[in-house]
């Protein structure tokens, strides 16, 4: 049921052209990921709308194949907030 990090990255890039996508395998188990997505397409959109764009890019994988994906969305002028704990 798990997904490969490169596949997550590929799907997000395909769904949000021009997005910078960084995937972190949080536990090194191939099942708990964080995706840090920076895209100009996020400018002017609410957090919920930004997350929906990432969810749409993943075409239904989230909540099914992908249980544990943290999503962090950034706009290009705001990348310094892109750290995760």
């Amino acid at each position: 049921m798990a997904m490969d990090a490169s596949e997550i990255e590929r799907m997000i890039r395909a769904g949000i052209p021009g997005a910078d996508v960084r995937i972190e395998d949080l536990r090194g188990d191939g099942d708990h990921y964080a995706a840090i997505v920076t895209a100009g397409a996020f400018v002017g959109k609410s957090r919920v709308m930004q997350h929906r764009m990432v969810q749409d890019a993943l075409q239904g994988k989230l909540g099914t194949d992908l249980h544990a994906l943290q999503i962090h969305t950034r706009t290009p002028d705001n990348t310094d907030k892109g750290t995760i704990q």
């Binding site: 957090r47 997350h51 969810q55 989230l62 909540g63 943290q70």
Partner: protein, 114 residues
């Protein structure tokens, strides 16, 4: 489409200012993401209704369809969808959550004023 489960959700949201649809209960969360949102609400001392979706298959799917959001937890304030765990956490850390609660007239412990 108006499924009966939507009516139950609307009723919950109408009767409670802050509602968290979650896995497990506020006392015993069954998922780290749900636990994280409970923790934030607890720190802020926001009164909320926690709804455990695990024992109720209809609600578990229904809440995802209701807001077109594929994951649990889901936080609602005054009937409005705020976000899932990542959004709530980011909003809390940037004080946006506190500002939104204040704007909507929800009582909470405002640490910035302490």
């Amino acid at each position: 489409m108006t499924a009966p489960v939507f009516d139950r959700i609307k009723k919950d949201l109408a009767e409670n200012d802050v509602v968290l649809y979650m896995k497990g209960t506020p006392v015993f969360p069954q998922c780290g993401f749900s636990a994280a949102v409970v923790q934030i609400l607890s720190i802020l001392q926001v009164p909320f209704k926690g709804v455990d979706i695990l024992p109720d298959a209809e609600l578990r799917q229904g809440i995802k369809d209701f807001t077109n959001w594929p994951t649990i937890p889901q936080l609602y304030v005054k009937g409005e969808f705020v976000g899932g765990c990542d959004i709530v956490r980011e909003m809390y850390e940037s004080n946006e959550l506190q500002a939104m609660l204040k704007e909507k007239g929800i009582t909470f412990r405002d640490q910035s004023a302490a």
